[in-house]
């Protein structure tokens, strides 16, 4: 007798009938709101219509589902719809911004934008877009943000280690200060650096001052994120390390930080991404400059957000196009950083394998130095065979 297998059921499937209810609710609520909104009450405006449509759709969807299926299912589905709407809204907004800037900016990007500065700008020239560029701003932003990150990330990691690994007195005070710092308006950071360094004639405008202001701004974010990342490292790993006879420093250095590595890279790059986009603190520090100034320690320097603001505010059509191109470049920079974060943050099994291969090659060649050339070749061949079963 052949074995009988029951028909597989998928109780959670969203079937044809369910799609029917969804589409019908969407359609009827659209008609209903259209009649009420535009025909009966003579209201106007697309946004209000969308909001009313969405509200009546949810109501209708819940009512119909509870009538046809079940009240609990109805509540469940309405809630799912809300959650999905929220998520799509976020994705949609980001996609819209990126798409818009790309559409407006990418078409205007030319090679000379990356190589020239604004020193040859003359508004009357019809070919002006071939003679100018934002190279000075790219150099400025990379230097300012690079220096800010180079100071902020180590300080943030050390602070996070203090908060999470060392603890003791002062933890609460430090955490409160860091939290309060994250609420600091960015313009205040710029004014602060200006008032203690520029106004007192200790320094002139310089890219380095912008780095200091950006450092103040990204420090709290990187610190808090790093602290959160360190907190999710299981306590058992610290105990295991200490029980092996490791000192507390070795435990943090060799166990806690490597375990939290990918999260810490994300934290750092988020901080850098914040710094790349900051505009307000640059006014009183880097100040802006139409010419290339690669020295961050001396003289006013340009930055991408500053130059973008300058361009957008001019009545020159050509410059507005350049502004969109600059916005696109700025966005690409942030995107590159995020991709970098993902790549660097990956678990490093593959890297470990390659390092191990290299090590085994060098070690073997060391042990048999006498007949090196022939042996190295043989050894490398066998080790490759061994590593790939």
């Amino acid at each position: 007798m052949p074995r009988r297998i029951g028909t597989p059921l998928r109780p959670r499937d969203f079937g044809l009938a369910d799609v029917g209810i969804l589409v019908a609710s969407l359609f009827s609520s659209f008609l209903l709101v259209w009649v009420v909104f535009y025909q009966l009450t003579l209201l106007s405006g697309g946004f209000g219509f969308l909001v009313c449509w969405y509200g009546s759709f949810l109501t209708l969807y819940w009512t119909v589902t509870s009538q046809i299926i079940d009240r609990r299912v109805a509540t469940d589905r309405v809630f799912s719809t809300l959650v999905i709407t929220g998520a799509s809204l976020v994705v949609g907004i980001v996609a819209f911004i990126v798409g818009w800037v790309t559409w407006k900016g990418a078409t205007h990007v030319r090679a000379n934008f990356f190589t020239k500065d604004m020193s040859h700008f003359s508004p009357a020239d019809p070919h002006v877009l071939n003679k100018i560029g934002v190279a000075h701003a790219i150099v400025g932003t990379v230097e300012q943000v690079g220096i800010a990150a180079a100071i902020a990330i180590p300080v943030a990691v050390v602070t996070a280690v203090f908060l999470n690994e060392v603890g003791g007195r002062g933890t609460r005070l430090v955490r409160t200060v860091v939290t309060a710092m994250s609420g600091l308006p960015s313009i205040v950071a710029g004014v602060f650096i200006y008032s203690i360094l520029v106004e007192t004639s200790l320094s002139h405008y310089a890219g380095f001052l912008a780095s200091l202001a950006l450092f103040i701004l990204i420090l709290p974010s990187v610190t808090r994120t790093t602290e959160e990342v360190l907190r999710i490292v299981p306590g058992g790993l610290r105990e295991a390390s200490l029980a092996l006879g490791a000192s507390e420093f070795r435990t943090v250095w060799s166990v806690v930080l490597p375990t939290a590595r990918s999260g810490m890279i994300t934290a750092s790059l988020l901080g850098i991404a914040i710094a790349v986009g900051e505009t307000a603190p640059l006014f009183f520090t880097a100040f802006g400059n139409n010419n290339m100034n690669p020295n961050p320690l001396h003289g006013a320097q340009q930055a991408l957000p500053l130059v973008l603001l300058d361009f957008v505010r001019t009545p020159q059509g050509a410059l507005v196009n350049l502004a969109y191109a600059t916005a696109f470049i700025l966005l690409s920079l942030v995107l590159i950083l995020f991709v970098l974060a993902r790549v660097l943050g990956r678990p490093r099994t593959k890297k470990a394998v390659w390092r191990a291969r290299l090590r085994s090659l060098t070690q073997r060649s060391k042990t048999s130095e006498i007949d090196l050339p022939k042996n190295v070749l043989m050894m490398s061949a066998t080790s490759i065979q061994k590593e790939s079963p």
């Binding site: 058992g236 105990e239 295991a240 390390s241 029980a243 060799s254 490597p258 079963p389």
Partner: protein, 267 residues
């Protein structure tokens, strides 16, 4: 600046003697006047219901207790006659002599199996003449070599739970401890893995003195030579009710409470 030879695997087992050990968390006394000898190259099981201070006692034996904020202790613990609390030994050195395996397997997730085994030596900056041989020896002793020899470069987390626990044992053995403390090492494992670890314990007992906390009476009976029964009455600190050879504790104990506990009548 530790010399290499003092920490090789051949150093051999050492006895532990705890005398009048008391422990506090905050101001609360949780362990009162516990004295216990754990002779060289034997397996000692600490049994008793939850909350009676077995784990606390175990953590006092390699100075892990003092890591808990607010923890205090009294009494002495002697490793072959040297008091580990007397000040001559640093806590980190003590823990290298007296290793520990925890309830939950905790291999370092960012390290390969190979690096996990060598982690303790790396942390203490102890030079190793032949890393490969030490890794093989430690993994063999922990009964993991055959399963792991072709995956030494994989991350420790890629192993199964039972294998991870044996990796942790190998990691603890690699630094050449003279005593190995095990805090319910099998409570997160299935019976097959448990049997494998019990076999490991029997095999390493010549080289390291083992002290094991377990809630499993059969396990205590199977693996241990001596047994100590801990008990804490309500609102009172934990004490040792009875300690002695395992067969006596399980067949003919002096105290009625021991008899009741080992035969599952309470706890």
């Amino acid at each position: 600046m530790t010399s290499d030879d003092s920490l090789s695997l051949t150093r051999g087992a050492a006895g532990l003697v705890a005398t009048d050990v008391c422990a506090w968390f905050g101001g609360r006394l949780v362990l009162e006047n516990v004295s216990l000898g754990m002779p060289r190259s034997t397996v000692t099981a600490l049994i008793g219901p939850s909350g009676c201070g077995k784990s606390t006692f175990l953590r006092i034996l390699n100075r892990m207790h003092e890591l808990v904020p607010g923890a205090q202790l009294a009494g002495s613990v002697e490793l072959d006659g040297t008091d580990i609390y007397a000040g001559r030994l640093r806590a980190t050195d003590t823990r290298r002599h007296i290793g520990m395996v925890f309830q939950k397997p905790n291999p370092f997730p960012a390290m390969s199996i190979y690096d996990n085994v060598l982690a303790g030596l790396k942390f203490s900056r102890i030079p190793v003449a032949d890393r490969d041989a030490l890794v093989e020896m430690s993994l063999s002793k922990a009964g993991l070599w055959n399963e792991a020899k072709n995956r030494l470069r994989e991350l420790g987390g890629a192993l199964s739970g039972g294998q991870q626990q044996r990796l942790c044992i190998a990691r603890a053995l690699a630094v050449g401890p003279r005593v190995l403390l095990m805090d319910e090492p099998c409570s997160a494992l299935d019976p097959t893995s448990t049997a494998r670890i019990e076999q490991t314990i029997a095999e390493i007992a010549d080289d390291v003195t083992v002290v094991i906390v377990t809630h499993n009476m059969q396990q205590a009976q199977r693996v241990s030579d001596t047994c100590a029964f801990f008990l804490a009455a309500e609102n009172e600190p934990g004490r040792i009710i009875e300690a002695g050879p395992t067969d006596v504790i399980f067949s003919n104990p002096n105290d009625a409470r021991t008899m009741d506990y080992v035969h599952g009548r309470f706890g």
